[in-house]
């Protein structure tokens, strides 16, 4: 029931966002700011940075350019901040287009209203427009725009346009002034950027904090992620509301061709089968399908078997790069990572990746740190409501030689990273912070985590053994005076001489002892 409700909520948000013309965007925002990640001033700041960075990364990757992103936060007063975001590559600001909306392609932002929400939030709290500088050629001057959102027409409006000098050779700069609150810690801008650097080893990030600290997150690879393919929705992943809208908006002339064109894995035979089951003539016009008929069609789809959706639409980080990303941001002793083969939940393909960092300078006595990613975006809020947290807690870490009380996160010096890549990540709510509890997803997460856990366990056993052996070898040194004094008592030979000779032998045999598992050839 709960699941159903959130689904309905999501459809509403999607439809409302898509059909912005029909209601006032500012009243939509006011009513839904908690869904959009602006429920408090602390989160507003983080969400703004997040939307700007996600957008910049998606935009550059679409152009096949390695992202290089600069973020600066300036504090004007207790509650007033300026967020500056710059992306160096030569692309024009294409900020305010919800182009990604309901296109089934793995991408960071899935709503397409993210950045507009930030602009709107800034506008509503400070009345200031967004300031954009864009320069596409070092020889040409930069363009300067001031945009605001016309809340009556729900359209971006350029209120000032100018040609300016900019010291960068090319790139885009976005500046937003907003009411917010700055904080450090687990849900800070710094933490968000650090985690982004882990999951996106190809992005070079640079950050200047309100305290004027300059932090560089260099890239660990120069290759861009494989561009995910766009796929049509799989029939089993569709919901009634969406089906009705698709019927209304399709260019197909018959229901049969509608099914074939708009969905993946439906051929003419399957399309006919569905029409027959729904008792709808295959050649009826989609636009004339009434609600009841649409429901029959929906039921018919649910009762039909389809081939699983294609999975080449996913672009995992890949285990090697995820581990590289983790290595450069986390100071630990042992790293392991894995990428699961793609799987499917409710008609949507998805793929799970996991990486662990253990030992080194990590906190020994506290709970393991869990870092969650969805389509390479860090999830900083609602950890306890997330399917990733549940899956990790349900894993029996005691079997891997780690501490864990009941079904909670394990205790020890380690970091657990889980990434879910999907064309449609099922979040529990529109603020996109927790993954919904689909059994298929939980199962895959557990398998990925277990695979890493087993490797960690074998590493731990090995180091414990090596450590014990080293300690035993160290004991020889302490045993020698004891042996010498007993042998002196037994044989009457000089204690000093015996000690010296034994110490010489130990020194000579030490390499061989360490090599041969504590034995001498």
């Amino acid at each position: 029931m709960q699941k159903k409700l959130t689904e309905i909520k999501r459809i509403r948000a999607e439809e409302l966002a898509k059909e912005q013309r029909e209601i006032s965007v500012s009243s939509f925002f006011e009513k839904n700011r908690h869904l959009l990640g602006f429920d408090n001033p602390i989160r507003a700041l983080l969400t703004t940075v997040k939307e700007l960075v996600d957008n910049a990364a998606d935009a550059t990757e679409e152009m096949h350019i390695l992202p290089e992103i600069f973020v600066e936060i300036k504090q004007l007063s207790e509650t007033r901040f300026i967020v500056i975001e710059e992306q160096i590559p030569k692309i024009f600001a294409k900020l305010l287009y919800g182009s990604k909306f309901f296109k089934l392609k793995m991408a960071r932002g899935q709503q397409g209203i993210g950045v507009s929400a930030s602009v709107l939030y800034a506008q509503l709290t400070t009345g200031k427009p967004v300031k954009i500088i864009s320069k596409i050629d070092p020889k040409k001057p930069a363009h300067y725009y001031e945009l605001h959102i016309d809340t009556n027409k729900n359209e971006p409006e350029i209120i000032k346009e100018d040609i300016v000098e900019w010291d960068k050779s090319h790139g885009t700069r976005v500046e937003l002034e907003l009411e917010a609150k700055y904080q450090k810690g687990k849900q800070s801008v710094f933490e968000y950027l650090k985690q982004t650097a882990i999951a996106n080893p190809h992005i070079h990030l640079f950050y200047i904090s309100p305290e004027q600290e300059k932090i560089d997150f260099p890239r660990a690879t120069n290759s861009l992620p494989i561009e995910p393919k766009q796929i049509k929705p799989h029939p089993l992943g569709i919901e009634l509301g969406i089906l009705i809208r698709m019927l209304r908006e399709t260019k197909a002339r018959t229901v049969q061709s509608f099914l074939q064109i708009e969905f993946s894995r439906i051929g003419s035979t399957k399309a006919k089968e569905v029409c027959d089951k729904a008792k709808i003539p295959a050649n009826s016009k989609p636009k004339k399908i009434a609600r009841q008929e649409a429901e029959n069609l929906f039921k018919a789809i649910q009762q039909t078997k389809f081939v699983a959706p294609p999975t080449d639409c996913l672009s995992p980080i890949t285990s090697a790069l995820l581990e590289k990303g983790l290595r450069k941001e986390i100071d630990a002793e042992f790293f392991v990572s894995t990428t699961r083969p793609p799987a499917v939940y409710r008609g949507f393909p998805f793929q799970i990746e996991c990486s662990l960092a253990y030992g080194g300078n990590l906190e020994k006595e506290s709970q393991a740190r869990l870092i969650r990613f969805a389509n390479r975006v860090p999830l900083l809020y609602q950890q306890s409501a997330c399917a990733i947290t549940k899956s990790v807690a349900l894993t029996n870490w005691r079997a891997y030689g780690l501490q864990q009380s009941g079904n909670s996160l394990p205790v020890g010096p380690f970091v657990i990273v889980v990434h879910i890549a999907s064309v449609w990540v099922p979040f529990t709510s529109e603020s996109k912070e927790a993954i919904a509890h689909y059994p298929e997803i939980i199962k895959e997460i557990k398998l990925a985590v277990q695979e890493c856990g087993r490797k960690l366990a074998s590493h731990l056993r090995h180091t414990v053994r090596a450590h014990e052996q080293r300690e035993k070898i160290n004991l020889f040194e302490k045993y020698i005076p004891e042996i010498a004094s007993s042998l002196h008592n037994l044989s009457g030979e000089s204690k000093t001489l015996i000690t010296e000779n034994l110490n010489k032998m130990l020194k000579k045999n030490l390499p061989s002892l360490e090599k041969n598992g504590g034995k001498v050839d």
């Binding site: 020889f476 004891e482 042996i483 007993s486 037994l490 000779n501 504590g518 034995k519």
Partner: protein, 362 residues
């Protein structure tokens, strides 16, 4: 006596010198000794006792798996030499405490449990070819004896016939005891101290002109050595009286053939000449003990089947008959069950009759 002491001492010295020689030759210091596990113990048909076979193990100092055991061995050897030097005797427990100290600069003790030092002492017996008593290490004394025997122990003359209700308690080391007078015709060794007290009160040893000896449960080394000395020095028979159960049979087996853990000592403690007097399966029938049987437990069944497969019992028809009868009864009986027939039934009827009719198992 002085000669013997020096012999053990010089063996300990040789042991130390051999290791020092290894060290001077830059050889990994090594202690060589026979393996003392079940795999290296066998029944020797010639002596009819359990003996060590010839598997040899080396204990190296420069080997993390051996180093501590190596250290324990030289440490306890040195402790034993000190005992010999000072002509003092220590108990197994004393030795454990003398060796239980922390090695400076570590949190490791030379020994943590008495089992460790006890095992090393047994190793030293093999290394020096001396008994633990000769190394001046004694076990707790246990067991009593009475009979028409006069002995000399250290400076004292002791008459086993004149020691009141307790009898003489048998020490761990009986090596240096001298028999001054001995006129007994046989020895009865029994598993139970309570039965010994019955026989002692009834002056059984006086009437029968024998020696009665007991321990509580397992027979200690001192008792086994004392029995062996009396048996070989005076050529008198020894009859064993135990409960009618697999454990009673085992006590007899250890006395006669030796045990795995003391296989290296068989020569000194095993007495192939002992005979089993009772309680036998036939006694259950003949003395009407059926109503005093105690039902077998799981462990009794498996123990019986183990014992019946012992190499030295396997081809003995008489013993196999006993095992079979016990197996069929699925029950055991205590010696004290005889008291149902009257408190002195055992001393007045059972024992004299059995001995007179020579009803023994060999």
């Amino acid at each position: 006596m002085v000669v013997k002491l020096t012999k053990t001492k010089s063996k300990l010295q040789d042991f130390g010198k051999k290791i020092v020689k290894d060290i001077n030759h830059k050889k990994n210091p090594t202690i060589t000794l026979p393996v003392r596990s079940l795999s290296n113990v066998g029944f020797d048909k010639k002596t009819k006792t359990l003996m060590l076979k010839d598997k040899i193990a080396n204990r190296y100092f420069f080997n993390v798996a051996h180093a501590k055991k190596f250290l324990q061995t030289v440490e306890i050897a040195s402790l034993s030499k000190n005992l010999l030097d000072e002509d003092k005797h220590a108990s197994l427990r004393d030795v454990f405490y003398m060796a239980k100290r922390t090695i400076p600069g570590t949190n490791t003790n030379i020994v943590d449990e008495q089992i460790e030092s006890d095992a090393v002492i047994e190793d030293l017996e093999l290394i020096t070819d001396s008994s633990r008593e000769q190394l001046h290490i004694n076990a707790n004394k246990m067991g009593s004896v009475a009979g028409k025997v006069v002995i000399k122990d250290r400076q004292d003359t002791i008459n086993w016939a004149k020691l009141g209700s307790g009898g003489w308690s048998i020490p761990s080391n009986v090596e240096d005891i001298k028999f001054v007078k001995m006129s007994a015709k046989y020895i009865i060794y029994m598993e139970k101290a309570a039965v010994w007290e019955r026989l002692h009160e009834d002056k059984f040893w006086e009437k029968q002109n024998c020696i009665i000896m007991s321990s509580q449960g397992q027979t200690t080394r001192g008792i086994r050595r004392l029995l062996q000395r009396l048996h070989t020095e005076f050529k008198i028979p020894i009859y064993v009286l135990t409960d009618f159960d697999p454990w009673g049979f085992y006590i007899y087996s250890v006395l006669k053939f030796g045990s795995i853990s003391l296989a290296h000592m068989s020569e000194k403690v095993a007495i192939p000449g002992v005979k089993f007097l009772g309680i036998t399966a036939d006694d259950i029938e003949n003395y009407d003990l059926k109503k005093h049987l105690i039902k077998f437990k799981e462990t009794d069944v498996s123990r019986l089947s183990q014992i019946s497969k012992y190499e030295w019992f396997e081809k003995n028809k008489e013993w196999q008959r006993q095992f079979k009868m016990m197996k069929e009864l699925k029950a055991k009986a205590e010696i004290q069950a005889l008291s149902a027939r009257g408190i002195s039934f055992i001393s007045e009827k059972y024992l004299p009759e059995k001995i007179k009719n020579k009803e023994f198992l060999d």
